[in-house]
């Protein structure tokens, strides 16, 4: 005789199925989201692709009046601000991470770490507010001073504004610093103590140990952290939008107003009325999305290998 499954057994089996289904659905949704984004952005930017085709990527004119659109000024703006910010912030990020891991005692390290996490959690728009009213005037003064130094009348004349590429680079450098510093610090903290002590026992100075033992040990994680920080800088929107000046032309100097892919969308999307203008802005978003996905996947691959080694 086969035992009849009791009611509570059946209820539990049903719950089991519902639970498995729910977690599978959620997991599939997550993966589908990326595909959905890609398809949606691709479809809604078709007006722009039909009009400009692939040359959209390297055409340097962005003119809403004549409705000729090319993304090159924004791509250049994005790369210059992103790599510029990375270049400025990396030495400091390394310095602070090393300071916290090897030099600072607990009483110093804990509050500093808290301050860094506090800064990392500040919304982008607040950095933008600070950038616009505090940083930009300083950059403006620097611009005039620099103009006088090199004898450029144009810089001195335009130098009251301060908005432009340089302001965006400096602001981005400050914004990604907490992020890269805390990732590098995390890596430094797992360097085995025996390795460090071994080096010190051989008569190495503290810096010898850092340079020859610790930094090589965390090289891969550091590269991964920097790639992630770059990804953040490239896609950062509000703060850059507020200080970069919404320049439509190809920038020729660091003091020029410019746009990144993100800032062009934020600045212009609500003004765009024609289908081709809207489509072109959506295509900028598509380019940005693809860049962001590639950089993030790359960074994770680097970081995962770093852990395995």
């Amino acid at each position: 005789m086969v035992a009849q499954p009791s009611r509570s057994d059946r209820r539990e089996a049903a719950r089991e199925r519902a639970f498995t289904a729910a977690s599978l659905v959620a997991a599939v949704t997550l993966v589908a989201t990326i595909v959905l984004f890609l398809v949606q952005l691709f479809i809604t930017s078709r007006t722009s692709r039909a009009a400009f085709g692939l040359p959209f990527l390297w055409h340097s004119e962005w003119n809403p009046v004549t409705e000729k659109f090319g993304a090159l000024p924004m791509i250049v703006g994005t790369l210059v601000t992103g790599f510029g910010a990375l270049l400025i912030s990396t030495p400091f990020a390394l310095g602070i991470a090393i300071f916290l891991a090897d030099y600072a005692g607990r009483k110093v390290a804990e509050p500093v770490k808290y301050l860094i996490s506090l800064l990392g959690g500040l919304p982008s728009v607040i950095f933008g507010l600070w950038g616009l009213f505090v940083l930009v005037p300083i950059i403006g003064k620097f611009e005039v001073w620099f103009g006088k130094l090199v004898g450029s009348k144009a810089l001195v004349a335009s130098g009251t504004t301060g908005v432009g590429l340089l302001a965006a680079i400096v602001l981005l450098a400050i914004m990604i610093l907490p992020f890269s510093a805390s990732l590098i610090l995390e890596a430094l903290l797992v360097v085995p103590t025996e390795l460090k002590e071994g080096a010190l026992a051989l008569g190495a100075t503290k810096w010898d140990t850092i340079q020859n033992v610790e930094l090589p040990y965390v090289r891969r994680s550091t590269v991964g952290a920097l790639v992630l920080a770059l990804g953040r800088a490239l896609g950062e929107t509000m703060a850059v939008t507020m200080v970069i000046g919404n320049g439509m032309k190809m920038p020729t100097s660091l003091f020029d107003p410019a746009n990144t892919l993100a800032s062009a969308i934020a600045n212009q999307f609500l003004e765009a009325t024609s289908p081709i203008y809207i489509g072109s802005l959506i295509q900028l978003a598509l380019i940005l999305f693809v860049i962001a996905i590639i950089i993030n996947v790359l960074a994770r691959v680097i970081l995962r290998r770093g852990i395995q080694q």
Binding site: A27, F92, I98, L115, L118, A285, I293
Partner: protein
Amino acid sequence: MTPRKLKNGVMGFLVAASAVLLITVLVVIVWHIFISGVKYLNWDFFTKTPTPMGESGGGVFNSIVGTFLITLVAAAIGTPFGMFAGIYVSEHRGQRFADIVRLCADALQGVPSIVIGIFGYTFLVVRFRSYSALSASIALAFMFVPTTTRVTEEVLNLVPSGLKEAAFALGARRSSVAWNVSIKTAAAGITSGLLTSMARIAGETAPLLFTAFGSRYVEWNMLRPMSALPLQIYVNASSPYPALQQQAWSAAFVLVLLILLLQYGAKHLIARVLRVKA
């Protein structure tokens, strides 16, 4: 002094100097927000709606309401997806599809907020033919889900496998082990993760620009345009009127306080979890 010792000293100095410089910059920024924010705070700021452009007075009550509504609804939409995806990844650790899901969550975390805003516009606003707070919440949910997934997974991985094995040995099913053992053990950690994710989306501006759009009135209907603190900060900062710019600093201060409160709650919960474990 040998060159090696000299280098040791110089590099030590540089490392400390870079730390001092960063700390100075951080303190300057935080201090500035605090001072400028407190200076222009008054009772009207919390209870009134914005006055017409250029007139002084008024407040941001509409934005405070908006931030709460939009953030809470986004969290309500995102929590089940994020939690269950996290459970999936944790339960199927080491399997290929779980790895892909985790990678997708990581990649989604890196999607620029403006792209999420544009997506929200083309996918929701165009479809419903209206700007609405709900479309903003859904857009923010796309940022909320991946962070929640990762946090849930990490917290679940901390649950001692002995606990789960004991439950299995008693004949419990997978779902009841996950529900009654794993989730209940990790509940405080997961809640803490939810608060952290909320702190992250509460300050987002770009996803709201083309979805919530903003409104001068106190709005409780999620199907209509709505204001929020980050949106208000952006609009006021870009305006030419000093009174509105000052209000932006106060709004920034209030927003930071809100975020700190959420983060404090998250930290407090995590601390309790760690204490129980130890």
